[in-house]
Symmetry: C2
């Protein structure tokens, strides 16, 4: 924008300290520097960054534990000050010139250090951010004790980053009505608006968020990251546009990561293959701030709670602050971590009773009519068994598995399976609301406005298909307004929780039916025909009994509704709907791989995902979603981890050279299949698919490595370094 | 925008010619020049620029007589080619380097030259663009013949320009869906969208127009000026943003002007003061293109047709092409010209029968219950008489007039009066449609979206007041979305015809009542109360019988409707309404001035406008509107005229140095009063006020000069040069 200024943070060079003094004199003296703000300049409104809808219940709101800038730095890279300058280079140079004096505090990185009784408090209320319990289906200890076998293990998962292509970027300006407009690459425009206003202590309507059709987020942009800061800066600078774009290096530490989980898992099984009990005790490292923290810890149980409906179930979630960068939402939202543990233990159970692992899973997973173990809501669709049966067949599971038994030699083959359940939205954690407006244009197009961000997942295309279907027009006649603007777009809370297709369904259904009715009524009036005899089919109003002959084209309806002098008007329809049902989405992964024992290297030959997520609206987009998720999961399973200096907490690989993100060249052949289904709770039969593809690969790969080598590895990522340690311990090398 | 290119026209240096050859080689060789387009490169879709709504009737559509560029130049400055370059300076330099070879044609500037039988045709169908007749109330000739006195005269009015502060500017880009977005300072975004699409031969929905809250137009931007060109350029250049901003010099000739009228007028009067007949024969100079041309010529009759309902009336409108810049819409739309003639003749009638001029007008103007002489629709409100009576009183007319009789000496005083009628929209010339969407935000604000451009007239403020009134909330709780976007804003045809307040009224009323109902219903459900007992008053839901006590605040309704988990949804309401009634708006001007005969100079002491335009929504804004209109009218009456070389047609004063636009320093004290009224046809009682303030000054001033000096001047502007000629002829100097 004309006159735009650029902001750059002064980030802490220590992981835990009190800021004694900030000297910005040299920075301010640099030509081109417009301002430097520190902790002393900011509003004292604690706010939460997690991108959840506001709740009317205080207890359900996210932990408000941060300010725009801090004088208590809680991770290496925490934001101490911010410089505003004429361009990014000057801003960066000036940020380097700001001198910060620290009073160091002990650096706490892992659960034992953070949760020690005498640990230095990272936040005033101490380091235990949250503790929660789900206990259903009977007493866990009793069930375990009376089972034929009890399996247990300790598991840990790494801190990884989303690595969306577009880094975190936003800018803001204030107009002559003192309204602050934030333009941001966010997954949650309406939430970003609210949180920015809360951070500044302004009425929510003073802030407007515009989200252009750009994206990449994978959950990272479900946090309200820099929107409050750019809003603050333009507010302080009387409306001058200010832009803040994080570098890749900053993104790794200054946005959000996937939480590290430490899990103790136990699972009971009887000789007949019945899994009797599942117990998980999780310790989740939230980093320096709460963000999605404890909500995610408990969601990791909720979202997996469809899978095994007939067990004694106990989930204890513990979430703690540490001096790592803050964890946040990332595709799967804790579920890859919890599923990993359950699936590994299912594999152990199969071994313990010498049952085929697929068979064991088939015997225990949910079926239609079962109830979710936590919510007690009946599952109308639940194609978990079909996924496994179809996978067993297309993967030729039994023969492949047989070929893996009793191998010797340096390179050995393994196959593995992993299963999961997920949800189709985030009810009852938060309200689920979605709204839609449809308008017929003069030339007979239907414009779809909604508030559900397209961030690359293809939702706008799928929504257009649904509109076309309900209204009765060709797909090409739907135009979607992809740029969201909180002032004008119908209200929706955002892109997360694999919710959009499910939650927008009823709104599209209602608005679409209404618009269709209005179009047919108008055409009837225009042609002097009884409306009840007419229908809208493939873009033409027709006699219901004679659908092949157009009575009135959509073009004619558009032209006449707008331009007839005494009848009509613009034909529009709007609907806003809330959802309070949350069906499970299911699937599994089958993997076939080689382990090169001397090289400690895993090579996947083939990996296939099978999903039952209700009706597939757009098979190509769904497949793309699954392949992307599989790629992400393979990275988490085998390659990716953020490393930190264990003493100082300094990040060691916060860049795409040292952080081993797999490229397309690293990918094995990916396959996916969908089980044909329609969920009766869903307006269009569809369920959640955004996140599920990322969940079941890690245990499948772990189980295949176990089968190939006889070595059980209970930590991720299974890099050559980790494999070396385990193979060495097992005497394989 | 990043990468934006800048366009500059190559304008003809002759007023009438065929383009033989365009040589762009030197321009294309200039570094920074990206492209040059000529007539050879453009789509051959004739289009009309007049900003009228599309009509379903072919006959009602505007004359499509132009292309994006021309090989037949029709005025000095016509657009032969367009250069696109990296910046405006390079573009301007390159435009100068384009060599155009012309085959000259005769330059035709005035009506006699243009309408001569053997005149060179400026357009294929000849130079008579249109001819129309209204004849009502009996035979004109008969009525004149049987009147006691018959007054007649020939009148002419000048070509002037709107001189809005912001010149004509727009830019366009094409996105990856091949949709062309035009950002433009236009009064008619939806019309600009349609016309740009027509010019390019594209479906209308391929084009989107965004109108930021900027403005100044006075009718000039009711033409679709440069929107088609910027759309064409980005289309040709594969989406690169291209901007085109006219300089002030270009604006004068390359946008639109107020039409020159030549009028022969006749008026019959009886000794008792009854005006019996009014006949006007107008010749309207449309310049090189039709634009609003003949529609305006005939509208000049329609809009004045409320004033004298009991006469034999004959209006013959003739519109012709010439080699002047094209005339277009300008505040008053032909009515200042036609009213000028009628008012001058009313003055002559008063003199002829020796009756006070105010008294004569009072006896003849319309009263409630009269019917519009053309439409035959009954006037429910018509405060013309009250305006004159109140004006006579506050102006102390009789005493002031007495003081002007029998003067001698070099400086003499005069008083004058002028009356007018106008309309409140443009029905039945075009469809009248307006639409509104209201949405309640989480924090209890009501967002108003509409499609009626705010271009400085204050409409957004007035609309917000109406919304507040209907919904039952404080004004400060209404937020208006002022930036219009044809993809998302409710459909409305634009800012023109003094229509917005009247035409949007029913839509605001309907949407407002619906939203209010939804708010009350939701609050009733939330509080468990019967909805019929509740009302929304001053931003709180209350018991109707106990309005001082809040049952539920708007904030609570907003929060709960959005965030209750199982009830509510976003509360919105939308309405689109058509209007097919068009009440008259009335008023008059009283002026008191000195004429310095030796200096040939007029000095206005005081000028007062009185208006009856129904209910005044916002007195301050209404007053501002009137003062602005008076200023514009004084310029037209006394100072402004565009001069052209009579041989070549070259503009002689197309800049703000040589064109004598009056400044604030040139203004006399301005006063205005409004007659209290409410029109029953109007949703809120209001009628048109945008244009009326510009209409009645010229005759009032002319009549005052006549009274002061005894010299009748039938041409505008009454500059010292013109006065010198008349005073000399009259022997005064």
């Amino acid at each position: 924008m004309p006159g735009m200024l650029h902001a750059k943070y002064v980030r802490s060079t220590v992981a835990h300290a009190i800021v004694r003094h900030v000297d910005a004199a040299r920075a301010l003296a640099l030509p081109g520097v417009e301002a430097v703000f520190t902790f002393a300049d900011i509003p004292r409104n604690l706010y939460a960054t997690a991108g959840h809808p506001h709740s009317l219940q205080e207890a359900k709101r996210d932990k408000a534990d941060r300010l725009l800038l801090t004088d208590h730095v809680r991770f290496f890279g925490d934001t101490v000050a911010v410089v505003v300058a004429r361009n990014e280079l000057i801003a960066a140079k000036a940020a380097d010139l700001v001198v910060v004096e620290y009073a160091p505090l002990p650096v706490l990185l892992d659960k034992d250090a953070c949760l020690a009784p005498d640990a230095q408090a990272i936040h005033p209320d101490g380091n235990l951010l949250g503790q929660g319990l789900f206990a259903e289906g009977g007493d866990l200890e009793e069930a375990l004790a009376s089972s034929d076998a009890c399996l247990s293990g300790e598991f840990k998962t790494p801190v990884v980053q989303h690595c969306h292509m577009e880094t975190v970027v936003s800018y803001a300006y204030m107009d002559d009505m003192d309204k602050i407009t934030i333009v941001s690459s966010t997954q949650v425009p309406h939430i970003a608006r609210r949180v920015a206003a809360q951070a500044l202590g302004l009425p929510w309507s003073r802030v407007r968020v515009v989200k252009p059709c750009v994206g990449g987020g994978f959950g990272n942009k479900q946090d309200v990251l820099e929107e409050p800061m750019v809003a603050f800066l333009t507010w302080k600078l009387k409306g001058v546009p200010v832009r803040l774009a994080l570098t890749r290096e900053e993104c790794f530490i200054g946005s959000r990561t996937r939480h590290r989980f430490d899990v103790k898992g136990r699972l009971g099984v009887n000789r007949d293959g019945k899994v009797t009990a599942v117990g998980l005790q999780t310790f989740v490292n939230s980093g320096g701030y709460a963000s999605h923290g404890h909500v995610l810890t408990m969601a990791a149980a909720r979202k997996t709670s469809y899978l095994l409906p007939h067990v004694a179930y106990r989930y204890e979630g513990n979430t703690y602050y540490s001096n790592l960068p803050a964890g946040g939402a990332m595709r799967g939202y804790g579920t890859p971590q919890s599923t990993y543990v359950v699936d590994c233990l299912l594999e152990e159970a199969a071994r313990a009773i010498d049952m085929d692992p697929v068979e064991l899973r088939i015997r225990n997973v949910c079926r239609p009519g079962d109830k979710n173990i936590l919510s007690k809501v009946e599952m109308k669709s639940a194609g978990m068994v079909e996924c496994l049966e179809r996978g067993r067949e297309v993967f030729d599971w039994e023969n492949r598995r047989k070929a893996c038994l009793n191998q010797t030699g340096p390179v050995r083959r393994g196959v593995g399976v992993g299963v999961f359940s997920y949800s189709s939205n985030i009810f009852p954690i938060s309200v689920e609301i979605s709204s839609v407006r449809l308008a017929l244009t003069q030339d007979g197009m239907v414009v779809l406005q909604h508030g559900a961000p397209e961030v690359g997942q293809g939702s706008d295309t799928a929504f257009a298909q649904l509109v076309a279907e309900v209204v009765g027009i060709p797909f090409a006649r739907v135009q979607v307004v992809s740029t969201l603007d909180t002032d004008v777009c119908p209200f929706d809370t955002g892109a997360y929780g694999s919710r959009q297709g499910f939650v927008i369904g009823p709104a599209i259904m209602e608005a679409g039916r209404n618009l269709k009715g209005k179009i047919v009524d108008f055409a009837a009036k225009l042609r002097g025909l009884p409306p009840m005899s007419l229908d809208l089919v493939d873009g033409n109003v027709v006699f219901s009994a004679q659908p092949e002959k157009a009575v009135c084209s959509l073009f004619d309806v558009g032209m006449h509704s707008h331009y007839e002098e005494k009848m009509g008007g613009q034909l529009t329809a709007e609907a806003s709907s809330k959802t309070w049902i949350n069906p499970g989405s299911f699937g599994c992964t089958f993997v076939d791989l080689d382990v090169d024992i001397p090289l400690c290297k895993v090579r996947i030959h083939e990996i296939v995902n099978l999903h039952e997520c209700g009706r597939i609206i757009n098979p190509k987009l769904a497949e793309g979603q699954v392949f992307g998720g599989m790629h992400m999961a393979i990275g988490w399973s085998l390659y990716e981890e953020m490393y930190f200096d264990p003493k100082t907490g300094a990040p060691l690989n916060n860049n795409l050279t040292d952080y081993k993100f797999p490229t397309a060249m690293d990918m094995p052949p990916l396959r996916c299949e969908f089980i044909d289904a329609k969920d009766p709770y869903s307006a269009f039969g569809n369920k959640g698919l955004g996140e599920p593809p990322t969940i079941p690969q890690a245990p499948a790969i772990r189980n295949a490595i176990w089968l190939a080598t006889g070595v059980k590895i209970n930590e991720l990522p299974m890099t050559p370094q980790i494999l070396y340690r385990h193979f060495k311990a097992a005497g394989l090398i």
